[in-house]
């Protein structure tokens, strides 16, 4: 039976429900069933719900995504680190135009999370969507995406995601199937280059500081040479030449210098902003200065870099770090700023249940700086800090841990599930 189109919001949240204009009854049922299957997968500990929710939606309504994507020009953003921020920055840059732009700005990046955003989108219009690394290959075709923005690939949640090479190979199959697809990608990450090479790719050289997950050539498995750029001595695979690169805090686009003054901290956010501005300029035709001004206005991204209140009236700055590449960037920043810091680590299903990567992160950078080990896995952190010879205290609750630190604004670096809980309680859903 055909259902009349309608739009509904959950009271108080301002978030659209799945029941909206563009979707048929079958598609709505599929999205709900997919979300339920994902929830079941998570609570029974079988997985994180990414695969199953997409499969269920596909089984019930094979054309759900095709239907939901109709009338929208869709950009998909993916990476191991920075996809939520890059999506937010690109959305800000593209919104300087006249067309409506839909985006999953809360970081719901699985098929079941994309569906309600698409259903609520105004059309004709644009959509800028963050997509989980493993979900990306499954949604490019049904959504008829016109642009992919690909940041970086490194080790993350090995218990769930598997090895980096497998993710890169799945991305590459997408590019091989779509040699005309426009991709804006990081030229300095061997896994990303291998994945995006077959497509029509605009490369941006960002430099790669975390190289521990890119020791071997993705093409022939020989050891890569890492000079100023990477190159494989065995098969010739190398960093592509490009007129676009990041020079300190200035993005150079084909000779045009675009200074990036960000409201977000850290070197890693310059990478995110450079990709976002490059995509907005080269694909969406946004003026470079206008795009740079738009990204400069972003100072919190779905709760990242927000502050939360402490019991003594101070506030703590919240950063999210999920894997060794992300942690090493955050630690460099906290060292440079000499910030008292809580190291809060959970290892629940959504975090990845294996925190062995703690031993690949240079926590030695905390020597001489006030530090607290926190989270469900505070004992793992405490032992790691002990062997790094970092003086520290131990407090499982992250906000109480921050309370024990000196300074006007201690930093609370936390895993995904802690971050999600803090955002749920203190975050502004529209930020």
């Amino acid at each position: 039976m055909p259902t009349p189109p309608r739009t509904r919001s959950r009271p108080g949240t301002g978030r659209p429900d799945v029941t909206t204009t563009a979707s048929s009854g079958r598609t709505r049922l599929a999205v709900r069933a997919g979300a339920a299957a994902g929830w079941l997968s998570r609570v029974t500990g079988r997985g994180a719900g990414a695969t199953i929710s997409g499969r269920v939606i596909n089984r019930i309504a094979p054309d759900a995504l095709t239907e939901l994507g109709r009338g929208l020009r869709i950009t998909l953003v993916s990476a191991t680190n920075g996809k939520t921020t890059t999506t937010r920055l690109l959305t800000a840059a593209v919104r300087t135009g006249t067309e409506p732009v839909a985006s999953n700005h809360t970081g719901a990046n699985l098929t079941s999370g994309l569906a309600p955003v698409l259903a609520a989108a105004r059309r004709p219009g644009l959509a800028v969507l963050e997509v989980d690394e493993r979900v990306l290959p499954r949604v490019v075709d049904p959504l008829a995406a016109e642009l992919l923005v690909l940041g970086n690939l490194s080790r993350d949640q090995l218990d769930r995601y598997g090895e980096v090479h497998a993710v890169a190979a799945a991305w590459r199959r997408v590019a091989e199937a779509h040699p005309d697809l426009h991709v804006v990608a990081n030229a300095s990450d061997p896994h990303v280059v291998h994945a995006a090479e077959p497509a029509r790719t605009t490369w941006v050289r960002l430099g790669l500081r975390w190289r521990a997950d890119a020791a071997t050539c993705p093409v022939c498995a020989a050891l890569l040479d890492w000079g100023a750029r990477f190159a494989c001595p065995a098969c010739g695979f190398a960093e592509p030449d490009t007129p676009h690169h990041l020079d300190g805090d200035t993005l150079v686009l084909d000779g045009v210098r675009v200074p990036l003054r960000l409201g977000l901290p850290g070197r890693w956010n310059l990478d995110n902003a450079a990709l976002a501005v490059a995509a907005a300029v080269t694909h969406h035709g946004v003026d470079p200065a206008v795009a740079a001004a738009a990204v400069a206005g972003v100072d919190t991204v779905a709760g990242r870099y927000m502050t939360v209140p402490l019991a003594d009236g101070r506030r703590a700055r919240v950063l999210l770090a999920k894997n060794p590449a992300g942690w090493s960037e955050v630690l460099e920043w906290a060292r440079a700023e000499a910030r008292p810091t809580v190291i809060a680590v959970n290892a629940r299903v959504a975090d990845g249940t294996d925190p062995s990567w703690l031993w690949d992160v240079p926590y030695e950078l905390r020597r001489g700086l006030p530090t607290v080990a926190s989270g469900d896995r505070c004992l793992d952190v405490a032992v790691r800090l002990r062997y790094a010879e970092v003086t520290h205290t131990v407090e499982p609750d992250p906000r109480r841990a921050a309370l024990a630190l000196p300074g006007d604004e201690p930093v609370l670096v936390c895993s995904y599930t802690q971050f999600a809980a803090l955002y749920h309680r203190y975050g502004d859903p529209d930020a």
Binding site: R42, V43, T44, G45, R155, L158, D159, E163, V164, H165, A212, A215, T216, A221, A222, L223, R348, V349, A350, T353, D354, S356, W357, L358, W359, D360, L379, D380, A382, V383, R384, R386, Y387, E389, T417, A420, A421
Partner: protein, 251 residues
Amino acid sequence: MRESALRIGLVYPELLGTYGDRGNALVLAQRCRWRGVAAEIVEVPAGEPVPAGLDCYLLGGGEDAPQHLAAAGLRASRAALVRAHEAGAVIFAVCAGFQLLGHSYVAADGTVLDGIGLVDARTTAGATRLIGEVVVAPDAPLPLLTGFENHGGRTTLGPGVRPLGRVRAGGGNGDGPGTDGARADRLVATYLHGPVLPRNPALADHLLGEVLGPLPPLDSVWEERLRAERLAAGSRTGLARWWQQRRLARG
């Protein structure tokens, strides 16, 4: 007390370092230093031969493609490794490192990767990956061990070697008899990551003791607290395990 520094070799960390196994080297080095014994970590970069003159050789876990490169390097260095072992060095191998010490590894597509045959063991790729907390009961004097496994290998030991211990929870060698790893004179191999030595200070001291002789005790309060917590997490089975994961999944 020895005069020279204990030299701890971290073999091919770029290739065999996917699961934090570098931590094992740091734990051995620090537990020497805290006892007043100088120690240094010698990284053996991929592409170079493994030197013979080290006191410990650590091999960690790695991804499939890098494992081929690591295997080639180890085969080329076999003589040096055997010589060092016979001269008193300790070998400690985890996961892919363990597989490469064996005779062979047969991948899912049938490709055979030759190991160095230092341990009488053969591995084939299984249909599923074994992922999760593991508890292993080794022979005395070692206490219960805790670790985290993430591998697709099924390793069968030959008559020439005994296992590190019996698996109380988790998969371990995954070949049927419910054992994990391998153990010989001055050689321990296991599937346990975590990494395993920060969680099991007694195993770390056992390895050091094989080189240094009897060791004075060391305060390991935090390590033992972590070990107790992980043993409890790994020992939950059936309904209790399901309930725990359900609670964890709630976030």
